[in-house]
Structures are given as structure tokens and as C-alpha cells.
């Protein structure tokens, strides 16, 4: 049997009595129901959202705290480690598919929708009857010029800098991994700190860019299909970078506390994979949203 109170490397660790999932469900429900209420203009929605968010944060600390404790105390054998790894890999795959939906929308818009609105192929009658004179060139906010005129963010300014930042951060996190493997804790923490700093700097520049777009370029979420795809793609990516940077911060503090060993550090690796994933998504964004 896999006793919850005695580590046994020969057995698969099966935890008992998990109080955190139900807390997570309550938090998630409060958060989302609160968001729905706010969207409908109910004032109480904000309170529910805040409460839900707080509950989720508590849940994350409680749940991960427990897992970290078990890990440090040697409850997990290599098979448990593999389960965690598989869980993380497939979670990242699901995230890839989430972004694929929005990339799909972008490609569909550029390759099919906009040309059809301009009268190409079987869109010829629609164009003649409804949208005569529409010039189907990307970027566009559609035949009704939804949201008014706008300018786009040039690729080779801040976005290029952000690309370099994220690529560098991919490098620094790899250096941290290397330091961990050879047991240099100080440089592990330093490389992690560099990665975290780069991550948050990226988010800062992105926020500046959004303010610039809204205030000076006239480019908003409401700027037709261009604004929709631009902000949804970069926005969801930015949220993921923020999340990744927070996770890296946690890992940094854990590393400073002496967690992780040269051959047992799934927590580190899982977050590093996540970081690389965020990195790769950005490369896709840079090419297809900004450059092309």
C-alpha cells in the first residue's frame, strides 16, 4: 500500500483526501459567474469575481504547497515524476490547440473572408449587392470600417525588441537548467532571475504598446477583424507570458530555498517547457500578426 505518511519509493504515491479541488471549483464558479454578472451590468459581479480570484489563489498555494512538500520529502518515485511530465506535456498541447483556434481565425480571415467580401470567387454577388467598393486589403476593419481608421504597429520596432527579449529569455532559462544540472545553485538563481526580469520586461513593453495603439494609432479591440485578431492573439499570449513569469518567480524562490536537485526537478522543467511554449507562440505571432 501507498501510505500517505511514509514515503516508499517502490510504490506509486496515491494521495488521500484532497480538499483543494473543491475549493478550486468554488473559486472558479465565483470568478466566472461574477464575470458573467459584470458583463450583464450587475454591480455585485465585481465582488464575486474578486472573491473567486482570491479563493483560486489560496487554492493554488495550498495545492502546490502540499505537492512541493510531498516532493521534497521524497514521496514521489520516478513513475510519479513521469505522470507529472506527461500531464504537463499534454496540458501544453491543449494550450497549443487553444491558440490554434485564434490563428485559424486569422488565417481564415486573411485567406478567405476578406477576399470574399471583396468579391472574389463565390463572393461576387455578396460584394456587388452589399459591399460594393470594398477594398479587400489587409489590414482591414471591414466594409463598414468598424471602429474607424487606424494604423498598425510596425513589426520592426517594439515587437522586434520583444522577440529578442523572449529569445534571450529562452536562452537564460536553459542556462539556469544547465546550472542546476551541474549543481551551481547561485548561478541557477541568477539565471532564473534574469529570465523573470526579461519576462516582466516583455509584459511591460507590450502594455506600453497597447496604450500607444489605443491612444495614438486608433487601433482597438473594436477595429474590425484586424483589431479582433490582433488583440485577442497578442492579449492571450501576453496573459500566458505573465502567468509563465509568475511561475518562474515561484521556481526562483524555491531554487533559492534549496529545492530541486540535479536529477529531480520536474517543477523547474515543467515551467521551463511552458516558457518555451510561450516563446514559440510569440514567434508565430511575430511572423503572422506583425510581419506578414
Amino acid at each position: 500500500m501507498t501510505h500517505a505518511d511514509t514515503p516508499n519509493p517502490n510504490r506509486y504515491f496515491v494521495p488521500h483526501n484532497a480538499p483543494w479541488p473543491i475549493v478550486g471549483s468554488i473559486g472558479m464558479t465565483a470568478l466566472l459567474a461574477g464575470a458573467a454578472m459584470s458583463m450583464n451590468g450587475t454591480a455585485a459581479g465585481k465582488i464575486s469575481m474578486l472573491a473567486g480570484f482570491a479563493i483560486i489563489v489560496v487554492m493554488l498555494f495550498g495545492w502546490f504547497g502540499q505537492v512541493v512538500k510531498e516532493s521534497v520529502n521524497g514521496y514521489y518515485n520516478s513513475q510519479v515524476d513521469t505522470s507529472f511530465r506527461m500531464g504537463m506535456i499534454w496540458f501544453i498541447f491543449s494550450e497549443v490547440m487553444f491558440f490554434a483556434a485564434f490563428f485559424g481565425a486569422l488565417f481564415y480571415a486573411r485567406v478567405f473572408m476578406v477576399p470574399w467580401l471583396g468579391g472574389e470567387g463565390h463572393g461576387v454577388m455578396t460584394n456587388a449587392l452589399l459591399w460594393q467598393g470594398f477594398d479587400p486589403v489587409w489590414p482591414t476593419n471591414g466594409p463598414a470600417a468598424v471602429g474607424g481608421g487606424f494604423d498598425t504597429v510596425p513589426a520592426f520596432g517594439v515587437p522586434l525588441v520583444n522577440t529578442l527579449i523572449l529569445l534571450t529569455s529562452g536562452l537564460t532559462v536553459t542556462m539556469a537548467h544547465w546550472a542546476l544540472k551541474v549543481g551551481q545553485r547561485r548561478s541557477l538563481v541568477l539565471w532564473l532571475a534574469a529570465t523573470v526580469a526579461l519576462g516582466f520586461f516583455f509584459v511591460y513593453l507590450q502594455a506600453e504598446e497597447y496604450i500607444h495603439a489605443y491612444q495614438e494609432l486608433g487601433l482597438t479591440l473594436g477595429s474590425g477583424i484586424y483589431g479582433s485578431t490582433f488583440f485577442m492573439l497578442t492579449g492571450f499570449h501576453g496573459m500566458h507570458v505573465t502567468l509563465g513569469a509568475i511561475m518562474l518567480t515561484v521556481i526562483m524562490f524555491r531554487a533559492a530555498k534549496g529545492h530541486f536537485t540535479a536529477d529531480n526537478h520536474f517543477g523547474f522543467e515543467g515551467v521551463a517547457w511552458y516558457w518555451h511554449f510561450v516563446d514559440v507562440v510569440w514567434l508565430g505571432l511575430f511572423v503572422f500578426v506583425y510581419v506578414v
Binding site: 505518511d5 479541488p21 513513475q79 506527461m86 481565425a105 476593419n141 471591414g142 479582433s228
Partner: protein
């Protein structure tokens, strides 16, 4: 084999002395549990509850359609019922039932102590009651629930009242739950098999779930993306689905069905797995063509990603796309045909007996095939121009989903109930349930083929008088079928409470690891990995 059974007995003995490991008492046991059997039970009970609620909605629909004209409910509410019925049945009844079966059976079939990620397993389940409270709760909001159909097509769905955001978020929660459940299944199958349980020795139910879990992780996030775009179109000024801003409502249909078609296979592949377990047991022969079954399942899963637009033939696509999706859809008939052929060949010259699980499995093979044929008819573009959005489509998907997926779930319940409860169900009542169901379900759905061919549109509370007779027949079948399922609920309840004690093997022809365990299966099983040799390998023995 006998040594395994003995080992399992030892453990039971141990557990009774160890208050950490017996089944804890009280309500909180179910809230905090990490045990795959407890969580399996939670899923299955929840699914039965949703099945009855969704069934109630269906009966409101059938009652209104009993006669032409508007009698019982107003059209707005009728539309809420068609929408909710589908959402509840798909996300609340069929999918959780399969996850429940996976939880119960996969660890026992591959010789694992539990699921790979037990805490997350708990969370996957415990999101569902919250999500459905939110979803079903919208019916009681002043604006009513969603009424634009489960497919949520814009622009219609964007006109939903205050319930809209709640529906979208409920769908997000269901997606999160499904993805976590699927990740757990994959990690369990890939990482937790007992030594010697090679991939090609796994029971087909496990194989079908491995592939289903992959489909789930691939497409549930796409649904999340689609409904997120709906949400921002409604509340945050985006124009993904509005032509004025350069968007296109048809794009929603593409994204939705990129999820939607694999989703229908998510609801049928585990059913295929169940049938592949049951038929060999009662035909007392190894499954015919085990590896062919595995490959067929994998090819169906692959093909399911490139056929989605067969739901959109009438929406205005370029001709080349219509042709591509027509042919790709028809290709799926090939691996599906392989499966049906193998089930029939398994029975060929078998020593068959017809206990309730086998009866449901046989009905599955025949009736699912009818649904497959009507699917082929719908796949023909010029024919679909006439059939689309008629009752013919309704008949098609109810044959594949009710006499397909639901019959397989019922068959699985009868097949494994003795293993779960330690008691045999009442065979006589089971047979009554079967014949009552199989007759009424055909009375319910077969006439809908004719209605559709004659042109009766779906999702309409009233109809022209020439459709009256078949609608009345269909409604009578509907109420009869609904009543039969109350009998099913009773049989399950009775079996859980007591009855003739089941043996470990339960069925004379049953093979596989789960049957080496005592009935009821102890709270913890396979804490020590069992020895796997050919005697305990299920029907997928590759040596055959």
C-alpha cells in the same frame, strides 16, 4: 491468475485494519476522494441524473410535438428545450458516463493502483456539478436559457439574453473538466500499465479511450476558443463573426465543427471499445481482428479531423471544398465497416448466450449501423441539400447517439455492475428493460427518417398537418422509452442494494485483468503490479 486473486485478497484484508485505506465514511468522502472507483461512481451517478434531466427536456419537446399547433409551451421555451437537451445530454450524460467507466475500469484493466493524477481526477469531476448548476440555472433567469441550438451559431446566439455569458462560462468549465480528465486517462494508460501489459495487449476499451483522450485534448480547447470569440463579439466589440467588420458568421461554423465532428467520435469511440469487450465474452471467442480494430479506431480518429464541413454543405462553400469534405466523410465508412465486420465475425460460430449486456451490444451493432448508413446519405452533398436541417438529421444522430453511445453505456453498466457492486442485477428485469427500450427507441426515432425526407424541419415547435401521424407515433415511442429508463435506474439501484452474490469472473466467457479481482472490487486494487501473461490478457490476445 490465482496468485493474483490471492494477492488482491491479502490487500483487502490489510485495508480493513488500516483506517487510511478502507473507504472512509460520511459525505465528505465523496467530496475529497482521490480513489478512482469512488470518482468513477460519482461520474456515473451524475451522468444518470443528467440523463434523466435531459430526458425530461426531450419529453417536453415530444409532448409539444404530439400534435400540430402550439399547445403546451411557448416557442421560446421550446427552443430553450432543444438547446438545453442537447447540451445536457452531450456534456452531462454521455461524456461523463464514459469518463466514469474509464475511471472505474482502466486502472483495473491495465493493472494500475489508481489513475495517474488522483487529485486532478477529483477536480475533473467536481467541476461538473458547478458547471451544470450554472448552465441549467440559466433556464430560471428572466431572459430564459439559450435558445439558439447547442451549436450556438451567430448571429442568432448573440441575441441570447442575460444568460449568454453564463452559458459560455459553463462551457468553458466543462471543457476544463474534460481536458483534465483526458490528460489523466492518457497519463494513466501510457505510464501506469503493469509490467508486461504491452500496448498491443491492452483491452480494446483502453485503446479506444487512449485515442478518445487524444481527441479531447485536441478539440476541447478549440471549442473554448470559438465560444470565447462569441463572448468578445457580444461584449467587447470584436467582429470575428460580423461581415461589417470583415468577419464572417460562417467562420464560427468552421471552428465549431472542427471541434464538433471529433466530438461525435469522442462520444462513440469508447462505445466501440465497450462493444469490443462484451461481444467476445458472450460469444466465448477471442475478438476477431484485434490489431485491425486498433488501426481502425486510430484511422477514424485521424479522419475525424478532416470532415467537419459536412455539417455545412448548405452554407455556401466553394465547390472544391464541398467535394473534398464529401469524399473524406465517406472514407470514414471504411474503418467503421471494418469494426462492424469484426464484431460480426467474432460472433460467427461462437457459443453465444444472450444476457442483457449482450442484448444491448447486439442492438448496438445493428442500430448503430443504421445510423451510419443515414450518415452516409447525409454525406452526399446534393442529397444533403434536401436533408439538411430536417428531421432526417435528427433521426441520424439519435441512431448513432442513443442506440449507439447510450446503448453501449447501458450495456457497459449491466456488464460491469456485478464487478462494481458484488451483486448480480435482476436479469429478468434487465431483459424487460432491453426489449422495452429497443422497441420503443425505434418507434421513437425511425419515423423521424420519413418526417425528414418529407421535409419537416428540425427545431420547430409546430408543423404542417401532413406530418401529424408520424409525430404522434414518435412521441408515443418517446414516452415509452423514457419510462423504460426509469426501470433502468431502478435496476441499478436494486443491484447496488443487494442481490445474488457475483463471482470474481462474473461471466463464464469473461477474460481480462478486471475479472481476476474479487467482486465487488476492493477499494484499492493492484497496489502491487500483477503478473501479466496470456491467461489474463483480454480478448486482444495477439497470438490469435
Amino acid at each position: 491468475m490465482s496468485s493474483n486473486t490471492a494477492a488482491a485478497h491479502d490487500h483487502t484484508h490489510d485495508h480493513t485494519h488500516d483506517d487510511h485505506h478502507g473507504a472512509p465514511k460520511g459525505l465528505l468522502r465523496w467530496v475529497f476522494t482521490t480513489n478512482h472507483k469512488d470518482i468513477g461512481t460519482l461520474y456515473l451517478v451524475f451522468s444518470l441524473l443528467m440523463f434523466l434531466i435531459g430526458g425530461g427536456m426531450a419529453l417536453i419537446i415530444r409532448a409539444e410535438l404530439f400534435q400540430p399547433g402550439l399547445q403546451l409551451v411557448n416557442p421560446e421555451f421550446f427552443n430553450q428545450m432543444t438547446t438545453m437537451h442537447a447540451l445536457v445530454m452531450i456534456f452531462g450524460a454521455v461524456m461523463p458516463a464514459f469518463v466514469g467507466l474509464a475511471n472505474w475500469m482502466i486502472p483495473m484493466m491495465i493493472g494500475a493502483p489508481d489513475m495517474a493524477l488522483p487529485r486532478m481526477n477529483n477536480w475533473s469531476f467536481w467541476i461538473l456539478p458547478f458547471a451544470f448548476t450554472m448552465l441549467i440555472g440559466t433556464l430560471f433567469m428572466p431572459s430564459g436559457g439559450p435558445a439558439g441550438g447547442w451549436t450556438l451559431y451567430p448571429p442568432l446566439s448573440l441575441q441570447t439574453g442575460n444568460s449568454f455569458a453564463f452559458v459560455i462560462f459553463a462551457i468553458h468549465m466543462l471543457g476544463i473538466s474534460s481536458i483534465m480528465g483526458a490528460i489523466n486517462v492518457i497519463a494513466t494508460i501510457l505510464n501506469m500499465r503493469a509490467p508486461g501489459m504491452t500496448l498491443l495487449r491492452m483491452p480494446l476499451f483502453v485503446w479506444s479511450w487512449l485515442i478518445t483522450a487524444f481527441l479531447l485534448i485536441a478539440v476541447m480547447p478549440v471549442l473554448a476558443g470559438a465560444v470565447t470569440m462569441l463572448l468578445t463579439d457580444r461584449f467587447f466589440d470584436t467582429t470575428f463573426f460580423s461581415a461589417a467588420g470583415g468577419g464572417d458568421p460562417v467562420m464560427f461554423q468552421h471552428i465549431f465543427w472542427f471541434f464538433g465532428h471529433p466530438e461525435v467520435y469522442i462520444m462513440i469511440l469508447p462505445a466501440f471499445g465497450i462493444i469490443s469487450e462484451i461481444i467476445p465474452t458472450f460469444a466465448r471467442k477471442p475478438l476477431f481482428g484485434y490489431t485491425a480494430m486498433v488501426y481502425a479506431t486510430a484511422s477514424i480518429a485521424f479522419l475525424s479531423f478532416i470532415v467537419w464541413a459536412h455539417h455545412m454543405f448548405t452554407v455556401g462553400m466553394p465547390l472544391g471544398a464541398e467535394l473534398f469534405f464529401m469524399y473524406a466523410t465517406m472514407v470514414i465508412a471504411v474503418p467503421t465497416g471494418v469494426k462492424v465486420f469484426n464484431w460480426v465475425s467474432t460472433m460467427w460460430r461462437g457459443a453465444m448466450t444472450f444476457e442483457t449486456p449482450m442484448l444491448f451490444a447486439l442492438a448496438f451493432v445493428i442500430l448503430f449501423t443504421i445510423g451510419g448508413f443515414s450518415g452516409l446519405m447525409l454525406a452526399i452533398v446534393p442529397a444533403d441539400f434536401q436533408y439538411h436541417d430536417t428531421y432526417f438529421v435528427v433521426a441520424h444522430f439519435h441512431y448513432v447517439l442513443v442506440t449507439g453511445a447510450v446503448f453501449a453505456i447501458i450495456a457497459a453498466a449491466y456488464y460491469w455492475l456485478p464487478k462494481w457492486t458484488g451483486n448480480m442485477y435482476n436479469e429478468r428485469l434487465g431483459k424487460i428493460h432491453f426489449w422495452w427500450s429497443v422497441i420503443s427507441v425505434n418507434v421513437l426515432f425511425f419515423p423521424q427518417h420519413y418526417l425528414g425526407l418529407a421535409g419537416m424541419p428540425r427545431r420547430i415547435p409546430d408543423y404542417a398537418v401532413q406530418f401529424a401521424d408520424y409525430n404522434m407515433i414518435s412521441s408515443i415511442g418517446g414516452f415509452a422509452f423514457g419510462l423504460a429508463q426509469l426501470l433502468f435506474a431502478f435496476i441499478v439501484w436494486q443491484c447496488a442494494r443487494g442481490g445474488v452474490k457475483a463471482t470474481a469472473q462474473v461471466w463464464e466467457g469473461a477474460k481480462g485483468l478486471e475479472w481476476t479481482l474479487p467482486s465487488p472490487a476492493p477499494y484499492h486494487t493492484f497496489d502491487e503490479p500483477p503478473k501479466i501473461d496470456d491467461s489474463v490478457v483480454a480478448h486482444g490476445d495477439v497470438a490469435h
